[in-house]
């Protein structure tokens, strides 16, 4: 993509870089705010933080439009934000308010916004890939040129549903993209233990589709491989798999003491695998963006989140009669 800034050799326009930064930073600040609100008792149930994996959702979704589809995981806040879900409406949903994105019926693990092509966070590990293949089938049947992206983790990469979905996508040559976010842990078990072949992309390639590995802490690298996959899907080239390596800054769930990780592991990763730090270093060193322009975005995000929390806490709870709403269209 040609840059609007003639002085730079940037891989994308200044506006696109600023927009991407805004998404990544919004996700991180959102997740940090989630922890605070969770600890304050403002969030029922439990939540799973996307803190650290921002470049993957953002790098992929910046290549998509509202007509494209994504399916997500239990760790889905980042995918929602990257696909364009309104942060205030997400906040209300996670706080179980009737004006939330799903009227308070979904919660953290079931946020969806079909108007944005966001087909739902999914609390079943490996639950979304078959659905994403179906959305890709819709795109192919209706010849819309849309693609359908299934975000899953290293844990889901071992599920039979995922294998079946990859095979069906290859057999029917569907515009599906399987994004594996290998954050090193499925709950409290290492991917090095649970992924028998130690090679998620290699396993995907064996199903008969192009499969690439990418550094999940490098936004620009993720964006580039995702663009190639999206172009392939749009042009009738069938499915692609992407394995993005990253770590999990937090535990499996917020409150997980992470006894299975050695002391200092997360701190080291926060330095070495920090996609936001990497992004800022890169764009400032290359002089593609100024730190000042990023700081302005930072302050806007904090204001957005403050307002979202205030709005959500003031929003109404569902009414008793809502219990019976929307089980069926008619019954």
């Amino acid at each position: 993509m040609a840059s609007k800034n003639s002085k730079s050799n940037a891989p994308m326009s200044e506006a696109e870089m600023l927009a991407s930064y805004r998404v990544m930073k919004t996700i991180r600040e959102f997740e940090w705010r989630m922890i605070k609100e969770f600890e304050a008792g403002n969030i029922p149930g439990f939540i799973h933080s996307y803190d650290g994996q921002e470049a993957i959702a953002t790098g992929v979704c910046r290549n998509l439009t509202d007509s494209d589809f994504i399916g997500s995981t239990h760790r889905g806040h980042g995918h929602c934000i990257a696909k364009g879900c309104a942060v205030p409406d997400m906040m209300k949903e996670i706080m179980a308010r009737s004006t939330g994105l799903c009227n308070g019926k979904g919660g953290s693990m079931h946020i969806a916004d079909f108007s944005k092509g966001m087909l739902g966070a999914n609390a079943i590990v490996g639950g979304a890939p078959p659905l994403c293949v179906g959305a890709a089938l819709t795109a192919k049947s209706k010849n819309t040129g849309a693609v359908s992206v299934s975000f899953t983790g290293d844990g889901a990469s071992n599920q039979g549903t995922v294998f079946e979905s990859m095979n069906l996508a290859v057999v029917l040559q569907l515009p599906a993209i399987f994004v594996y976010e290998n954050n090193g842990y499925g709950e409290a078990t290492s991917a090095a233990y649970a992924v028998g072949s130690k090679d998620i992309a290699g396993r995907a390639a064996a199903f008969g589709m192009p499969a690439v590995k990418v550094d999940g802490a490098d936004f620009f690298a993720v964006h580039a491989v995702a663009k190639e996959a999206v172009d392939r899907g749009r042009n009738g080239g069938g499915p692609t798999a992407i394995e993005a390596s990253i770590t999990r800054f937090g535990g499996h769930f917020v409150g997980d003491p992470q006894l299975y990780r050695v002391d200092g592991e997360v701190e080291t990763y926060r330095e070495e695998l920090n996609c936001l730090k990497n992004f800022i270093d890169r764009v400032c060193t290359e002089k593609w963006l100024t730190l000042k322009s990023l700081k302005i975005i930072d302050s806007e995000i904090l204001k957005l989140l403050d307002a979202a929390v205030i709005g959500a806490l003031a929003a109404p709870h569902p009414k008793p009669e809502d219990l019976f709403e929307n089980v069926y269209k008619s019954y």
């Binding site: 009227n103 969806a112 639950g127 890709a136 049947s141 549903t161 019954y331």
Partner: protein
């Protein structure tokens, strides 16, 4: 009026709906058959030849043969439905639901509720149920009780060709996921079926026999046995209501309660295993809301709490018989 079998009306109805609405398509294992093979195309047309000829009319883009991957294609039906299509998927034997149940009860059944009414999954899943073909423990079950128990799913169990056409048409035009369970012993059952399309609404039972002395509720193939018993008893001066609920979710509770209010006596016949069966469900409904009408205890006629056996002598013993139904009726009629 033409006489048609259930097998004939399935293909006829589906084809008519696919001509009417281009978002409707058929997907499953060997719904055409012959994909990638050196021999005949459309070799199967579904396991029982139900869809024969459809791939010729609609092409492989709308009659889609899948790998033997139920989770993937049943789940893909949910995803396609949520994004604007109206898939009809053939699971073949309902026993195969075990490998893909997550995509049914956790995914498509919950979309509308979990996403605040902003999503829906207009999927039809066709599956064969029932014992009697010596098909053994993994190809002979009913399984409608566990499907009926899932909020968000609708469950349809036609007992004749006329109802099959009307209910299947309604299922395809319905905006919720619908499971249509077809008894394999009924595929060649025939009756008068009009050529033009019509719908039968869900939750409306049919009275296949009418009488004031006893109420017999029966499902699927058991309706025919209940009718035979009712006809036999009629000759002895005993008049039975035979109620075919036709759909177990929604269930026409009022039809059953109103009949029992008159007869005061209830026999429920269900080929499912006894525990948590529709027979148990309907018995509890009447005990709860129609107790004052009852003039005797309720009798259930069901399969025993065993897997379906292979040996013909055992399978015949397993399946509720006309003699079992008659004995139950006589028991509730005892003063």
């Amino acid at each position: 009026m033409p006489i048609k079998t259930i097998r004939e009306v399935i293909g006829e109805t589906l084809s008519a709906e696919m001509r009417r609405d281009h978002d409707v398509f058929l997907m499953g294992e060997d719904v055409a058959g012959g994909a990638g093979c050196s021999g005949e195309d459309d070799a199967f047309g579904g396991a029982f030849g139900t869809y024969k000829g459809m791939v010729g009319e609609f092409g492989r883009g709308r009659v889609i043969d899948t790998p033997i991957s139920e989770s993937a294609f049943i789940g893909a039906a949910g995803g396609a439905a949520a994004t604007g299509m109206r898939p009809v998927v053939d699971l073949m034997f309902v026993d195969f639901i075990g490998v893909c149940f997550d995509q049914i009860f956790n995914q498509m059944a919950k979309f509308r509720y979990m996403f605040g009414g902003k999503s829906e999954a207009p999927v039809v899943i066709l599956a064969m149920v029932g014992a009697g073909l010596r098909a053994g423990a993994q190809h002979s079950q009913m399984l409608h009780p566990m499907l009926t128990a899932v909020p968000g799913l609708k469950v349809v169990m036609p007992s004749n060709a006329y109802d099959t056409k009307g209910l299947l048409t309604s299922a395809i035009r319905d905006n919720d996921p619908v499971i249509v369970l077809l008894h394999k012993l009924l595929f060649e059952a025939s009756c008068e079926v009009p050529d033009e399309d019509y719908q039968i609404p869900f939750g409306e039972a049919a009275f296949t026999r009418q009488g004031n002395d006893v109420t017999i509720v029966a499902l699927s193939s058991m309706v025919h046995k209940a009718n035979a018993v009712a006809d036999k008893l009629a000759a002895q001066g005993i008049a039975a209501d035979v109620i075919d609920p036709r759909t177990t979710s929604p269930l026409d509770e009022e039809a059953i309660l109103e009949s029992v209010e008159v007869s005061g006596r209830l026999v429920v016949v269900d080929e499912a295993n006894e525990r948590c069966s529709l027979a148990a469900d309907i018995s509890s409904l009447v005990a709860d809301r129609g107790f004052s009408s009852l003039r005797s205890g309720i009798k259930k006629v069901t399969a025993p709490h065993t897997p379906v056996p292979f040996a013909p002598v055992l399978e015949d013993q397993y399946i509720p018989s006309e003699a079992d139904i008659e004995a139950a009726v006589m028991a509730v009629l005892k003063p």
